[in-house]
Amino acid sequence: MRSRFDEQLSILNKKLIVMGALCEEIIGISSDALLNGNSDKLENVKIIGSEIDRMEEEIEGICLKLLLLEHPVASDLRQISAALKMITDMERIGDQAEDIAEIIGFLNGRTGEECKEIRKMAETAIKMVNDSVDAYVNTDLELARSVYSFDDIVDDCFLKTKNKLIDMIAENKTDGEYPLDLLMIAKYIERIGDHAVNIAEWVEYSLTGVHKDNNKD
């Protein structure tokens, strides 16, 4: 009786895994360009970005159809509603990676000591995205929960970067554009970390029925 429904759920799952992999790929390319000056693949960013957008639409369609036709309850309902929320975060991650790629173009390869924290941020954010997607794929609750703690590292790096850039400006060591571009990049990376946390929270919700944010009194 459920076989058709189970089949649809497994299709949904596979699509989410593909979308997650695209997110990992797109931030991988952007940060490789930023941190290692490796801009060979930068032109792929737009293509991957639109593929992510397309997948968001497709997965949303699958979810709405399942909600309408199957009236899912319990873990089925949680899995589908978690999927609906996760794709919004994944789509944002794709957009922000695209934004970063665009700004990298303005930097003209210029990087310096002030990028040390940004490197750490980017590496951490990538790990967060990878882990939250993997947690979904492997229904790994512990891995999902481990993502939350990395957010503090990202936030901390963002603050340090901001202070460094303020000093640079105060000491008149730079033109106006460069520190602003870097700050934007840092902010986008920080947001990517937040979206990875959201994804991890939806994975937790899907597996346990408890959403971290709704559980605070």
Partner: protein
């Protein structure tokens, strides 16, 4: 919310078969409680015991207690007729009496000693209004109730149950024989009635339980597996067996 019906360690046997196993449940008043579970799990048995419709069957044996408004319903001093006036029942198949619409409704009040045309007219009108069927039948109150459609007959039966001013209405799969429109009328009616009455409804329709009930009890093989807020049961059941049943993974 205060519990109006309270079952404590309730067991029931039909001869050798145990149909209810150590049921403990407190039903909140002025709300809708849905009873769900596969056929034969004891839902109807539980419903019927609440107004003592099955404890007179010779092979039935009962252990444990049921309290209605704090009073033990198995006590000798309890008047079964007045218990049944307080706790009314609506069955799966609409069962209007083969008499006029008016007499169907007036039947219960008459039995309980109410006389006087004006008084009875009033009860008939109010009951039919409360059951959301007044407009459809007010011009043919003297016609035979068997001429009504299935959905109308079921609302008539609800009106008949309301006519004796009950506190609790038990409904055993009241919409399973009805079309979707009649079903939604009964559902809307139930939601309206819960302001004044406590409703306990057996349903095989999961969506119906979700739509109308405040609390849901899941029975399996005579056991009460899980009882809680409907929203919780259907989004995050605690027991794997509940999960398997409501998601259709059962058996």
């Amino acid at each position: 919310m205060k519990g109006i019906i309270n079952a404590k360690n309730l067991n029931l046997w039909y001869g050798e078969t145990q149909a209810l196993k150590n049921i403990n449940i407190e039903i909140p008043e002025k709300s809708i409680t849905a009873l769900i579970g596969p056929s034969g799990c004891g839902k109807s048995t539980f419903l019927k015991i609440l107004n003592r419709m099955n404890d007179l069957i010779p092979i039935v044996k009962i252990k444990g207690d049921i309290y209605y408004n704090g009073k033990d319903i198995f006590e000798k001093s309890i008047d079964v007729n007045s218990l049944r006036r307080d706790i009314g029942m609506v069955f799966q198949k609409p069962n209007p009496f083969p008499m006029s619409i008016y007499d169907n409704i007036a039947y219960g009040p008459r039995i309980h000693g109410i006389k006087g045309k004006q008084r009875l007219d009033e009860i008939v009108e109010n009951s039919l209004k409360d059951a959301a069927i007044w407009d459809e039948v007010k011009d043919r109150l003297k016609k035979n109730a068997l001429g009504l459609s299935g959905g109308q007959q079921q609302r008539l039966c609800i009106a008949r149950a309301l006519a004796v001013k009950p506190k609790v209405i038990l409904m055993d799969e009241p919409t399973s024989a009805l079309d979707p429109i009649s079903t939604s009328k009964i559902e809307e009616l139930s939601l309206k009635l819960k302001d004044k009455y406590t409703i306990i409804i057996v349903t095989h329709n999961m969506q119906q339980a979700v739509r109308i009930s405040d609390n849901t009890a899941f029975f399996l093989l005579g056991e009460l597996i899980e009882f809680g807020k409907t929203e919780e049961i259907f989004s995050n059941p605690l027991d794997k067996r509940t999960e398997n049943y409501i998601t259709g993974r059962f058996g």
